[in-house]
């Protein structure tokens, strides 16, 4: 058992020091009825080779995104991550440390968090960012919960362009806490219906841009309408690379911006772990959830960093905390920050431009496929198309051609009556050959 350093002699000696006759004496407080003497009905320990073989076999049963033309997005995006990112996050000092409770021996993690917060605030055009949330969807739910603490209202409005998983996550938590959530009807141009839904009881309005159909929107007018009624505007983004090209939430009047940060520095990982970005205007900082890292000085006056404003948090405030979050996404935030350091202002802008360019190419190619209708007018790297018949069946059929053609909207929201809508994303990893293969196969399948 390679992870256990104690030898039988060590154990015997230690029991002697303790003054216990055997190991069972240390479990004496466990009620007799609950003591399991027999081994559980599970396999016995296995060597590295054996375990590696089993997991390799399971991994081999999946089709990795990189194996062929691949167009899935809808909240998770395939991007190239520089090799140095993964190398650095596997350093022992980052990988095997924990929440920086002792700042004198955690300055590495803390300075990274300070850099992360600065980057996230810059990307979103807002003032303060926290040290990460679990992912974009939980960050969205937390933002809605935060809004009611700010203005003491109990109603949240979710745009019909919000990712259905984000909406469901938010509804689940808000419902438990007694908030009313109004989820507007799913539609390509769902943002148009948002302003009319805002009233004097509205705590917040949640709008996603680019939305789940890929539509990029200027939400300035929604911000104005929300503010006129005393409500907060929460802007959600599921593709963080879009910050490199599109107007930031802050510039458009958002009070809180949340995002899925997976696109920068993190692999697809079949849905997690990811990293939630959470930013707000400065005056709201004391209502924010999660950890915050702040600058200070040490006893010799040298600049350093600590976790701060922790009177908001569960370990101090208990039932009066702003959230119950404890462990967040530290290592994913580190990967995000390293990747963004490598990109810099110039690199992120180039990457974003490249994503948009590839998506334009994809759009142009799809536009000439008979019976396919392009639905997304202005987009970043993702579009929605209408196909004849059921989009999910079409995706299954295209698998036989070696193509993963995107996400049928019905997979996210089977009850919206939008079964003929297919969401497709293109990134810097998408090649012209991938796009040609997609359109050729589509033509073949639709003609049949």
């Amino acid at each position: 058992m390679r992870y256990l350093p104690l030898t039988p002699e060590d154990r015997a000696q230690m029991l002697g020091v303790i003054g216990a006759p055997d190991i069972d004496a240390l479990f004496v407080d466990v009620p007799e009825a609950a003591r399991k003497q027999a081994l559980f009905d599970l396999p016995l320990h296995g060597g590295e080779l054996e375990v590696e073989r089993e997991l390799g076999q399971l991994a081999g049963m999946n089709r990795a995104a990189g194996e062929g033309p691949f167009f899935c997005g809808a909240g998770a995006y395939r991007h190239h991550v520089p090799a140095s990112v993964d190398h650095i996050i596997q350093r022992s000092e980052f990988l095997t440390s924990y929440t920086p409770y002792q700042p004198e021996i955690a300055q590495g993690t803390l300075q990274v968090l300070f850099e992360f917060q600065t980057q996230v605030a810059a990307l979103t055009g807002l003032d303060v960012a926290n040290a990460s949330m679990y992912d974009g969807s939980t960050a969205c739910a937390e933002a809605v919960m935060m809004s009611q603490r700010v203005n003491r209202r109990k109603k949240g409005i979710l745009s019909g362009g919000l990712h259905p998983h984000y909406a469901a996550t938010t509804q689940t938590i808000a419902h438990a806490e007694g908030m009313t959530i109004v989820r507007l009807k799913a539609a390509i141009d769902a943002e148009a219906a948002v302003i009319d839904a805002i009233d004097d009881e509205t705590a917040c309005v949640v709008v996603q841009t680019p939305n789940v159909f890929g539509v990029a929107t200027d939400v300035t007018k929604i911000a104005e309408a929300a503010h006129a009624k005393g409500a907060l505007l929460i802007v959600v983004t599921t593709e963080a690379v879009s910050y490199g090209l599109l107007k930031s939430p802050g510039e458009m009047g958002a009070d809180i911006a949340v995002a899925e940060g997976q696109s920068i520095g993190n692999a697809l990982n079949y849905g997690g772990p990811y990293v939630g970005l959470f930013t707000a205007r400065e005056k709201l900082v004391r209502q924010m959830p999660g950890r915050l890292c702040g600058e200070t000085v040490d006893a010799e006056g040298r600049r350093g960093y600590v976790l701060t404003l922790s009177t908001r948090e569960q370990h101090i405030r208990r039932e009066k905390a702003t959230s119950n979050i404890c462990t967040n996404s530290g290592l994913c935030a580190l990967a995000f920050t390293i990747h963004l350091s490598l990109l810099g202002e110039t690199g992120l802008r180039q990457l974003a431009a490249l994503n948009h360019s590839r998506a334009r190419e994809m759009r142009d190619a799809l536009a000439v496929v008979p019976s396919v209708e392009i639905l997304t007018p202005r987009f970043f790297n993702e579009i929605a198309i209408r196909v004849p018949g059921d989009a999910a069946a079409l995706v299954e059929a295209l698998l036989a051609d070696g193509i993963v053609a995107g996400v049928p909207y019905s997979r996210l929201d089977p009850h919206a009556g939008l079964d003929d809508i297919l969401l497709l994303a293109a990134t810097e990893t998408t090649t012209p050959a991938d796009i040609s293969a997609l359109t050729a196969a589509l033509k073949g399948r639709i003609a049949r």
Binding site: D10, I18, G19, T118, G344, E361
Partner: protein, 523 residues
């Protein structure tokens, strides 16, 4: 003996020994003062080479961001150096014992890292067709089988993303069950005074009010107080077992029985599962829901504060209310059910987008398979043995909070032994840093004065445990001998001296901003 570059033996000049030597440039040998990224980098500098975009963004019109973002970039060598230098300012499990009580800082096997990075897992999109992710579903199903078997519970919700998120999931299931039974009036949660802060915070987050249960003198739930507080308003009790004092709740079965008799559910905080894995099944104790921190018991790395994973095992009574998604066995094999409304009207909703922390599932499963049924049992035994060894070795110089009987996987001391020394628990902890150890959890649980909660885990050798105990003994002797400066000024030898947390909170500076007088590194 080492040799200099010209072949002469190098020897330290014995006469030159300085206690307060400082460098001329501010660093400390290999420990460099490292500026912020924004002070190092430039807006026009980058560490990536990307092809030019073939199409412009003219189709986006006024949606294009016109103003600078405010990012700084570095070349690849500068990036490596920046983050490697920063890394060297961190303590880590791989460097020395990391005895944070209630955090289970155990060794993180590198096989798990390798497995999680297989393209068949890492490069898998959460929404690609299920027919292309059969191996992922199979792994999740096998993980679920192990978790259910080890806990003796019939169901598990895999999607919660950390321990506190698992608590939230468990309480939402309990709330849904009460609502379905017409008991929406049950809105009180009983929580022991020694509980983790996440317990009351979670209860409040789902709209419940919190009432505390008293503790007995021997560090357990006061059964009489619990019974007195159980009533028709109580939704559930939240009890950590082994508890945060590092003790097994001897009356646990009775605690569950009286809770159930009063119509309440029993939520168990599974943060301390490492003490009993392979030896005790929470299902046999009457638990209705319990989260399992995969980053604690099942060794997925803590990563400087996450990501974790917090699957929740559920009793038969709560299983129907589990959130989407879940895996079912149908004719063709495994299927992921993603929409609660279709197949189970009682599911309470969704905890997050997608399936949960797959990267952690792979690591935890690799760890379980490596240890097996026999190894996991040994894990609990060695974890408990190590903690009791520390308790036995240090009881001569420090005061255990509960001296009678064995502890489980963590040893809890109070600060009675520091009385009159002028040294506090905080000072003592900071002096441990100078001896090369991460401090234990301090001032928690709240029920013990000046608490010091030490959790060594099973992955420490006897040699490292002895090194740790020797260091703490020496410190304890120094504290009692009046060597107060060693503590109150500590740490002296860490990358930083003690940091001013009051200043940080009074004038929060949470992001870097270009100061007017500073050079325009990242305008």
């Amino acid at each position: 003996m080492s040799m200099s570059s010209v072949g002469r033996p190098t020897q330290p000049a014995a006469a030159i020994v300085s206690e307060a030597h400082t460098s001329l440039t501010g660093g400390r040998g290999l420990l460099q003062d490292e500026p912020l990224l924004f002070e190092l980098g430039g807006w026009d500098k980058t560490g990536v080479d990307l092809p030019a975009a073939e199409h412009d963004a003219s189709d986006l019109g006024d949606l294009v961001r016109a103003s600078p973002i405010g990012l700084a970039g570095l070349s690849e060598p500068e990036t490596m150096r920046h983050y490697v230098r920063l890394s060297q300012k961190n303590h880590a499990i791989d460097l020395a014992l990391y005895p944070l009580g209630s955090c289970t800082m155990k060794h993180n096997p590198r096989l798990n890292e390798k497995m999680a990075r297989l393209p068949g897992f890492a490069d898998l999109h959460p929404l690609q067709p299920q027919s292309t992710t059969r191996g992922a579903l199979e792994l999740m199903d096998r993980l679920a089988h192990w978790l259910k078997t080890l806990t003796g519970m019939p169901a598990v919700a895999l999607s919660p993303k950390a321990g506190a998120h698992g608590e939230l999931c468990g309480l939402l299931a309990i709330k849904a069950a009460h609502e379905a039974a017409g008991h929406a009036n049950r809105r009180t949660v009983l929580v022991p005074t020694s509980a983790h802060g996440t317990n009351p915070a979670t209860a409040a987050f789902v709209g419940y009010s919190v009432q505390e249960i008293a503790q007995t003198d021997d560090g357990r739930v006061d059964l009489a107080d619990l019974e007195a507080k159980l009533g028709p308003d109580v939704a559930c009790i939240m009890v950590t077992n082994p508890n945060t004092c590092g003790l097994f709740e001897r009356d646990i079965i009775e605690i569950a029985r009286v809770a159930h008799a009063a119509g309440a559910y029993f939520y168990c905080d599974g943060a301390n599962f490492n003490a009993i894995v392979g030896r005790v099944r929470p299902g046999d104790l009457g638990v209705d829901a319990m989260h399992i921190n995969l980053h604690k018991t099942f060794s997925t790395p803590h990563g400087g504060g996450g990501p974790g994973a917090g699957p929740v095992v559920l009793s038969a009574a709560l299983a129907p209310f589990a959130p989407a998604p879940w895996i079912v066995h149908d004719g063709d094999g495994l299927k992921l059910v993603e929409e609660a409304r279709d197949e189970a009207a009682q599911a309470f909703g969704r905890m997050c987008a997608f399936q949960g922390q797959m990267g952690m599932f792979v690591r935890a499963y690799a760890y379980m398979r490596s240890h097996g049924a026999d190894g996991l049992r040994q894990v609990a035994e060695d974890a408990v043995l190590n903690a009791n060894y520390i308790k036995a070795r240090l009881s001569g110089v420090m005061t255990p909070a509960f001296p009678e009987g064995p502890c489980m996987h963590e040893a809890l001391f109070d600060d009675a032994w520091l009385e009159g020394t002028g040294v506090t628990t905080l000072d003592f902890a900071k002096a441990m840093i100078d001896e090369g150890f991460h401090p234990m959890t301090m001032y928690f649980p709240l029920v013990v004065h000046g608490a010091m909660l030490i959790e060594p885990t099973e992955t420490e050798s006897k040699r490292e445990l002895d090194r740790f105990c020797d260091a703490l003994e020496a410190l304890a002797v120094a504290a009692k001998a009046g060597d107060v400066d060693r503590f109150t000024g500590a740490p002296y030898l860490a990358p930083m001296r003690r940091l001013d947390e009051t200043l940080a909170a009074r004038k929060p500076k949470l992001t870097w901003r270009l100061e007017p007088e500073a050079p325009s590194a990242a305008a």
